[in-house]
């Protein structure tokens, strides 16, 4: 059993790592990570735009995005993937690669989820911060950019990491539209071996688990750090105010 697994890894590690590349499209774990990283990198700005639109006083901006967020959150991801896969080429007539379809769907989906986190983060700051910024003459956007968002987003870092973990898991659904990711590679291996599905999918599970667990661990560590900082660096003996004052005055 363990011998089987080692043999499989020995024979197929390159396929599991990068798919058919360079003879075919990049796949495997590399593609899974690229897909996840790209979707989170794009979902992040999208989520901020969604959140700002949902907090906007203009109904024309607020309503469509609110509907989009509700629909996206109320529908299984697999459904969204199938829609984009079958509907987008039908509507646009373009032949979109499955990777792009998957990426777009993940960006909208995670963007909608994260936008709720961003929105909650902004609302949780209270009116006082915005009032103070406006009273000093900041425009709405300037207040958002320099005062509100830096605080809301900083508090959001743990949620961002959890979303990243969720995204990695979600990329497995790309399998149904033939996105060449790690799951796809594992199933190719399985198709070639035919007799060892348990061993193959155990390897798959262990790899996903290792990645997701380490990221979750990181998220928890970051969260602890942030709540420590929020409690006030005054309570943190490692950074007495004097030392900080010195650092800043040296910068001056």
């Amino acid at each position: 059993m363990i011998g089987d697994i080692i043999t499989i890894i020995n024979d197929y590690w390159l396929l599991l790592l990068i798919g058919q590349y360079p003879n075919g499209p990049l796949g495997g774990l590399a593609n899974t990570l690229i897909l996840s990283a790209l979707s989170i990198a794009l979902a992040f700005p999208v989520s901020i735009l969604f959140a700002l639109a949902r907090l906007s006083k203009w109904p024309l901006l607020r309503w469509p995005v609110t509907v989009l967020v509700y629909v996206t959150r109320g529908v299984p991801l697999l459904m969204l993937i199938l829609w984009s896969y079958f509907l987008v080429p039908l509507l646009t007539g373009a032949d979109v690669p499955s990777f792009v379809t998957m990426l777009t769907t993940l960006v909208i989906y995670q963007g909608a989820f994260l936008s709720e986190v961003v929105r909650a983060g902004i609302v949780a700051l209270g009116e006082g911060q915005m009032d103070a910024a406006r009273a000093l003459g900041h425009s709405y956007l300037s207040a958002m950019r320099f005062i509100i968002l830096p605080q809301a987003l900083y508090n959001m870092i743990p949620s961002m990491i959890s979303t990243f973990v969720a995204t990695i898991k979600d990329t497995t659904l790309g399998y149904v539209i033939n996105v060449p990711d790690l799951t796809f590679a594992a199933s190719q291996v399985n198709n070639q071996l035919l007799t060892q599905p348990f061993q193959v999918f155990l390897i798959l599970a262990v790899v996903y688990y290792a990645i997701c667990w380490s990221l979750t661990y990181l998220a928890n560590a970051v969260e602890r750090r942030i709540s420590r900082r929020r409690a006030g660096p005054a309570n943190d003996p490692a950074s007495p105010s004097l030392a900080q004052a010195k650092i800043v005055s040296e910068q001056l």
Binding site: G128, Q129, D131, A132, A133, R134, A135, L136, G137, H138, S139, Y140, S142, F146, I147, P150, Q151, Y154, R230, A231, G232, P233, A234, S241, Q244, A245, K246, I247, V248, S249, L252
Partner: protein, 254 residues
Amino acid sequence: MTTSASSPQQQAIRISNVCKSYGNYPVLKGIEAEVIRGEVVVICGPSGSGKSTLIRTVNRLEEINSGAITFDGQNIHAPMRTKELNLLRSRIGFVFQNFNLFPHLSVVENVSISPIRVKGVAPGVARDKALKLLDRVGLADKAGAYPGQLSGGQQQRVAIARALAMEPPVMLFDEPTSALDPEMVGEVLAVMKGLAAEGMTMLCVTHEMGFAREVADRVWFIDAGEILETAPPEEFFKHPRHPRAQRFLADLRH
């Protein structure tokens, strides 16, 4: 210093027939008042009488239903481009009851960010200026600290320095000391007295009688959305004319 005697040149703020309601509930009922340049006005009145609402309409943090508030010869509640409004606002300092410092920025950044981002002052220049202001409020040694590391009184002094950094000709204070422990009230009032002595035009909601007596030129007594009495502090505290002012002062002394 009576309402009718001042010319428009002497007026810093003129509030004309300002009405505001939340839904059907009127909060300001035709407020009529003015602040003369260099004058220190103290607003007092019972809780819920509309003091915060009134002072927040002066820089248009609250909208009004009718009336006008003139600052620098312009009605700040007139329809105008947001750029213009932001410019007007940047020339009216505002100090909040809860300080509202920006917790993610150090003290010196709190004071310098708005000159940099709103006025376009060069960062180095803004920082030097911020350090001078911090020195003036007695917090030069806290420049690199974060708001969470400061006491309430220190935070409020930073908030005053932050407002002053925009070089406003007028400062508004909404109960600047009522969120503070008693032992910290004095340090904030001392800064405010210093400002008054330098001739700053100030409109302060406060129940600090000592402060009012010492530095106010006039006291406005407001109740249920109306200014019932305006008088020099000596007169107001010794011989309040309006029965509700008499009751308010009696309650306050207990």
